[in-house]
């Protein structure tokens, strides 16, 4: 498999982003049915699923180089976006080993790892990196092991320590926070960092999810999908920069919505780490504009129905209130009322060229 990387993408002003037809067809569309509510939608993270985005443990796609570049720029400006508490040092190396091993397994043509005892050589072809280091000795890497490897993988990463029957958010590389502050949430227990999600808390979602995750086993990762809507393809919608991106929410009009409003999907996967017993959490974020999504007839229809019937408290929590009516009106044109098949698969093999009428 060869990936044609988009090198000139920009996830901040001036935005520049698009999905190829292939990228769109592999998009992890998050709605298996025509309505949405919170649920503990966790399943085993096996290789393979309804679209190609589920084929690898840590998915690499055409946006890989641009996303790594975006992370590097943000970490240069705000180094605290990567912070690991001192008792998580074993977990950092654990995470590095797991991510490297899985990337090599899934993308042997892109990444190579050579181990000679504790002397490891990592070769990352897309980013043009080659480093030899001593496993377990952080001074042999240009930065901490967790930062090193998470600069080279897509999506945010957190490390959860397990103790006293709870999980604690004790390490983060978060440059794409969906409206939260990782610096503020650091060190919180599972129920605390989900505190602002009051609707799901009241439904008992987090109690159940915690009990499940406490029993997560090495070698049996799990995944779930989460979603929101973001104006412009901007990863950094952190609480820190809310004054920077917040005004975008008032800019959506019927004319620009197709290009400016994005369905933001998080393919979240969780891994028990074999040395430290910590849990590695990858929040792998995908963007597709409303215009792009509606090229897949099933997804356009379903997105219309989901947003039209979205419970108001959910719309408020996700910050969609300002543009939701515009979004529903836009999508209505793509919903002919015909039934949709269960599940998230696009149900088509190729897309009609842009501009052709349905």
């Amino acid at each position: 498999m060869s990936i044609c990387f988009h090198r000139d993408e920009k996830f901040r002003v001036p935005f520049h982003f698009s999905n190829s037809d292939a990228a769109l067809l592999r998009f992890p569309f998050p709605f298996p049915e025509d309505s949405y509510t919170y649920s503990v939608n966790i399943e085993p993270h096996t290789r393979g699923g309804p679209t190609e985005a589920f084929s690898a443990q840590f998915d690499v796609d055409e946006h890989y180089i641009a996303e790594c570049q975006d992370r590097a720029e943000l970490l240069a400006a705000e180094p605290s976006r990567c912070t690991v508490l001192p008792h998580m040092h074993d977990a950092e190396w654990d995470a590095l080993e797991l991510i490297m091993s899985d990337m090599v397994k899934d993308y042997p043509d892109l990444f190579t790892l050579t181990r000679d005892g504790d002397q490891w050589t990592w070769h990352n072809r897309p980013l043009g990196l080659q480093d030899t280091f001593t496993f377990g000795n952080a001074s042999t890497l240009p930065c901490g092991p967790f930062e090193y490897i998470t600069r080279q993988a897509q999506g945010d990463f957190t490390l959860q320590d397990q103790r006293d029957g709870n999980l604690f958010l004790d390490g983060v590389t978060v440059t794409g926070a969906a409206d939260y502050s990782p610096a503020f949430d650091l060190g919180m227990s599972f129920d605390e960092w989900h505190g602002p999600a009051t609707v799901a808390t009241e439904m008992g979602i987090f109690d159940r999810a915690l009990q499940y995750l406490l029993k997560l086993q090495v070698g049996r990762p799990v995944r779930r999908l989460n979603w929101t809507l973001t104006v412009n393809p901007r990863f950094d919608t952190s609480a820190e920069n809310y004054p920077v991106w917040g005004p975008d929410r008032t800019t959506i009009t019927p004319d620009n919505i197709g290009n400016s409003l994005f369905l933001r999907v998080e393919l979240q996967s969780l891994y028990r780490l074999p040395g430290s017993n910590a849990i590695l959490f990858n929040i792998r974020t995908y963007f597709a504009s409303f215009g792009e999504l509606c090229r897949v007839p099933k997804w356009g229809r379903r997105l219309h129905r989901v947003l039209r019937d979205l419970p108001p408290e959910l719309a408020a929590y996700k910050g969609l209130v300002r543009f939701l009516p515009t979004a529903v009106a836009y999508l209505a044109a793509f919903d002919d009322g015909s039934p949709t098949s269960p599940g998230i698969a696009p149900d088509i093999q190729s897309l009609r060229p842009v501009g052709c009428p349905a």
């Binding site: 649920s39 966790i42 320590d161 499940y212 090495v218 049996r220 074999p274």
Partner: protein, 313 residues
């Protein structure tokens, strides 16, 4: 459903007339999965009257996935599993096992761990103690055994050193109150052995103000239980659920269509109506009231009290 491993017996070493140490390697030269200290694996033992699945703690795992070591006690009341291991397994025997699981992992912020083992319950504690020692972290290890086995356990605990590890012959050879009173803040207890011993540890420590969450007891998870039979009211079939099998696995093996997702009692997808029999609830999905009503079951984790259950399937 579970990933299975093919293992080869690489070494067998009779530590005492009843304790056998096995070193297991991959049967097909693959790297064995990494494991956290405190993990166990479930061996498929092809005994004469069928298959037996027994859980054994991994006492040591080779770096880079080269081997697992377990210690198996030949128990006089064995239903065949441990007798099979002792009598039938030889070097180069091939066995199937489930991928290791861990319900007794170390806590990263523990200032000290206090290990209390009884008999063959020493096995997971050996792995925990070794990991702590390798990291230069504080531990204290007390092992109970019969007077005859004292030398065997003393040699197993010798690597941890005198003053750190101590073997006691007889259950009254150590005063728990004195032991628990002198433990520094931030100590966790890890205990494995006869239920009565683990209960005593829990009772005496909590009576001295230890929080329950500071006391970890070995449990091999709640996957299995007594076998039972499930009757399908709509389709009319009867399906046996074996002691080491989940109800969901049994239904799937019999091609009963059932929706499931997490397979861990959390998501609620496999919720199934119960028409007769009493479910033994092990899930986190049903509310207390729903559980008490007995009208629903989560087949991925829950089982039956009694011999039969009738489902609306």
């Amino acid at each position: 459903m579970m990933d299975t491993l093919a293992l080869r017996v690489a070494e067998r070493d009779l530590l005492s007339p009843t304790l056998l140490r096995l070193r297991l390697t991959s049967a097909n030269a693959n790297k064995l999965p990494s494991v956290t200290p405190g993990s166990h694996l479930v061996l498929d033992l092809p005994v004469k009257d069928g298959a037996r699945r027994n859980a054994y703690s991994i006492t040591q795992a080779g770096k880079g996935g080269t081997f697992y070591e377990i210690i198996v006690r030949h128990s006089p009341t064995s239903r065949g599993g441990s007798a099979f291991v002792h009598k039938e397994l030889t070097v180069d025997s091939i066995l199937n096992a489930s991928c290791p699981s861990n319900f007794l992992a170390l806590e990263s912020t523990a200032k000290k761990i206090l290990l209390i083992g009884g008999g063959v319950g020493v096995t997971p504690l050996l792995a925990l103690a070794r990991a702590r020692m390798e990291r230069g972290e504080t531990l204290e290890f007390h092992q109970f055994c019969t007077p005859e086995e004292k030398p065997v356990f003393e040699s197993l605990l010798a690597p941890f050193g005198q003053g750190v590890a101590c073997v006691h012959a007889g259950r009254n050879a150590l005063d728990f109150q004195t032991l628990f009173r002198r433990q520094p803040l931030g100590t966790y207890i890890y205990t494995c052995g006869p239920n009565a011993m683990m209960e005593r540890v829990l009772t005496e420590a909590t009576a001295m103000g230890w929080p329950e969450r500071r006391i970890h007891q070995e449990s091999f998870g709640a996957g299995g239980g007594n076998p039972f039979t499930v009757t399908l009211a709509r389709t009319g079939g009867t399906i046996p659920v074996a002691e080491d099998q989940t109800l969901l696995d049994a239904l799937e093996s019999a091609d009963v269509p059932i929706t499931s997702l997490c397979r861990g009692g959390a998501c609620g997808m496999c919720r199934t109506p119960v028409l007769a029999g009493t479910p033994e609830h092990r899930d986190h999905f049903l509310s207390a009231d729903e559980k008490a009503s007995g009208r629903w079951i989560m087949p991925c984790v829950s089982r039956a009290h009694g011999a039969c259950l009738t489902l609306d399937l």
